[in-house]
């Protein structure tokens, strides 16, 4: 078998795609099935090194990479059991080619190449960010064209126009995914982690702040909403900024401490969270309205946030927009979302990914499927 030959992959109903995800601190393996109605989740397994990173206040790339090496095979085995499948059922292997941590991506990618070669099935290298959006199709079916996606996680805060999740493959759409807006500094999830750290709440910040915020007053402190002023209505109309918000929280906490006052943690969490959810949902609704897009998907780890979900529901209803958010288990990184992109790509028909492919830590969001 020549390694230069370009293989075509086109899969129909009944086909099984395995997905391998290793871009950050979660090792995920999932299986999806292509059906006449769409793409369904068959089973998945996840291993996380999050606990090992906690005391460092963020993901340590080398710790994550070591954990992926240890976890990959056991996670593959658990996923097969969860899905009730065996290796002979697999028709293609999708793997995260980027973006993400280089060393972590390489573990999943090298493993996926080996499984694909050993089982004689095509490899489909896909974009992690498209994966977050594709996760929703596992729960709510195919996306209408176009759809506006708000992708929020520890590493990303982006507004994307989704025309297709199949990428620019054979007969595909070259404008499958277009970047509408992005953060100009910190990602939303990163802001949660930094604020949690300065409040001494540990890592990761999202779940704990969400929990404490429920017992706080969200109007107690008027924290700034980044890039929402009149001067940003043009150039940064759909962009985000969370660095100023984080600094503002830090100043507020420090001034209370300096003056010997109590720090109302619940109120700060609620007010901070309100500022994040406010700006995320306001800009999403604005973009959907401006672009005439009727459906909004919110995806990524931060999509698990309670306030973001409720405020988005409120505002999308007001604006007459259809809102879709996958269940929490599909919001965070997992293998099924990668399998789902692979299935969309394979269903449409595309060239299989060459076994020479490298990991691309900075893979642009527009590239759904790498060759």
């Amino acid at each position: 078998m020549g390694t230069e030959a370009t293989e075509t992959v086109r899969l129909g109903p009944g086909s099984i795609v395995m997905g391998i995800e290793s871009s950050c601190d979660e090792t995920g393996v999932g299986f999806v099935r292509i059906t006449d109605a769409g793409i369904e989740l068959v089973g998945q397994a996840l291993a996380s090194s999050a606990d090992e990173h906690a005391r460092f206040g963020g993901v340590v790339p080398e710790i994550a990479s070591r954990a992926h090496l240890q976890a990959l095979l056991p996670t593959v085995h658990r996923a097969f059991v969860a899905a009730g499948l065996s290796p002979s059922d697999v028709d293609a292997i999708a793997v995260t080619a980027g973006p993400g941590l280089a060393g972590s991506l390489m573990v999943g990618l090298a493993g996926a190449k080996a499984y694909a070669a050993a089982w004689g099935v095509p490899l489909i290298g896909v974009n992690h960010l498209a994966g977050h959006v594709a996760a929703d199709t596992l729960e709510h079916g195919p996306l209408p064209t176009p759809t506006l996606a708000l992708l929020v996680s520890g590493g990303h805060t982006q507004l994307l126009k989704i025309t297709s999740l199949a990428g620019g493959g054979i007969g595909g759409d070259a404008d499958a995914i277009t970047l509408i807006g992005t953060t100009i500094d910190d990602a939303a999830g990163e802001a949660y982690d930094k604020v949690a750290r300065l409040l001494g709440l540990g890592y990761p910040g999202g779940p704990v702040i969400d929990k404490l915020a429920r017992d706080g007053n969200s109007t107690a402190v008027d924290f700034p909403r980044g890039l929402t002023g009149a001067k940003d209505a043009d150039k940064h109309r759909y962009d985000f900024s969370f660095s100023g918000l984080k600094t503002s929280v830090a100043r507020y906490v420090e001034s209370l401490r300096r003056d010997g006052k109590d720090v109302p943690i619940n109120d700060i969490c609620a007010s901070f969270q309100e500022a994040v959810a406010d700006v995320l949902t306001a800009k999403t609704v604005r973009a959907a309205t401006d672009l005439g897009i009727g459906t909004v998907v919110i995806a990524g780890g931060v999509a698990a946030n309670g306030r973001l979900r409720s405020l988005a529901a409120e505002r999308c209803a007001e604006a007459g927009l259809m809102l879709r958010i996958p269940r929490i288990g599909l919001c965070t990184d997992n293998g099924s979302m990668i399998a789902a992109v692979g299935a969309h790509v394979a269903q449409a028909g595309a060239a299989a990914t060459n076994s020479h492919v490298s990991a691309n830590p900075g893979l642009p969001v527009e590239v759904v499927h790498v060759l």
């Binding site: 460092f56 206040g57 710790i63 990479s65 992926h68 080996a114 420090e254 076994s355």
Partner: protein
């Protein structure tokens, strides 16, 4: 036994396909050649045989690319197999170098070996990469195997003349290598390995080239396990260093100093 050998512990990516002859295959060959096989039958060992009778390197490919392991390794595996007329499914075992070496490349080799073994349901044995280098040598005297550990350090293992590891591996500055040897009462006569040049000046030792194919030596390191069908242990890289990570300091003050 068709064995795939992989090492990615240095910038040199090595892939070899080696036929490891089983005892009965060697006995049959000797018989065919008219040799008396009493010795074989009595001892069950082949220590008296030249290595070339036990291992046949059917094909070996090497490629130097310090940052290209993930890109090149799997295509090299298929190409090396193709050269021997075999496909991945013909493999009966995998032997992989477990370092020490720069982590990212090392992991690519190890996860590739592990996934191939898992997918094909064949054993995967790990071999310390320096041991394989040591077995390539045909020189007399105690010696060191040295490879690049980056950050102005080298990975070092001390070997007795029989290529048996006696000390190490450790990560050291080249200038500390002789001191480490002295602490262990070890007197090396020469050095080998992909990083030998990095320690040559500091140690004043002769750098010697080892010439046997690395894939043959990797398989030689695991021969006992391969022939006895031993269950492979967990594949753990010889990292020798903790991950770089520092616990966070107190956040920087956000208020201007007053």
């Amino acid at each position: 036994m068709l064995v795939l050998a992989i090492d990615t512990s240095t910038p040199v990516i090595t892939v070899g396909v080696v036929n490891l002859k089983r005892p009965h295959e060697i006995a049959a060959e000797l018989e065919r050649a008219g040799h008396i096989t009493d010795q074989v039958n009595q001892t069950g060992e082949f220590a008296f045989l030249p290595q070339s009778d036990v291992y046949a390197v059917l094909a070996e490919k090497v490629r130097t690319d310090a940052f290209g392991h993930v890109e090149h390794l799997m295509p090299m595996v298929t190409d090396t197999l193709a050269e021997t007329g075999h496909v991945v499914g013909d493999l009966e075992a995998v032997v992989v170098g477990i370092g020490p070496g720069p982590f990212t490349g090392l992991r690519v080799g190890m996860v590739t070996a592990a996934a191939l073994g898992d997918a094909l349901n064949i054993p995967v044995h790990g071999a310390p990469s320096h041991d394989a280098v040591a077995r390539q040598s045909c020189w007399a005297g105690d010696f060191l195997v040295v490879t690049d550990a980056r950050r102005k350090e080298v990975y070092v293992t001390a070997y007795a003349e029989s290529a048996v590891a006696v000390h190490g591996p450790v990560a050291l500055a080249p200038a500390a290598v002789l001191g480490w040897c002295a602490e262990n009462g070890f007197t090396p006569e020469w050095i080998a390995g992909a990083g030998a040049h990095l320690a040559a000046e500091a140690t004043g030792l002769d750098v010697r080239k080892v010439t046997a194919p690395l894939s043959e030596s990797l398989v030689a390191c695991a021969t006992g396990a391969l022939l006895t069908g031993a269950i492979p242990g967990p594949l753990t890289p010889l990292y020798l260093r903790r991950p770089d990570a520092t616990e966070p300091h107190a956040p920087k003050p956000a208020l201007p100093k007053s």
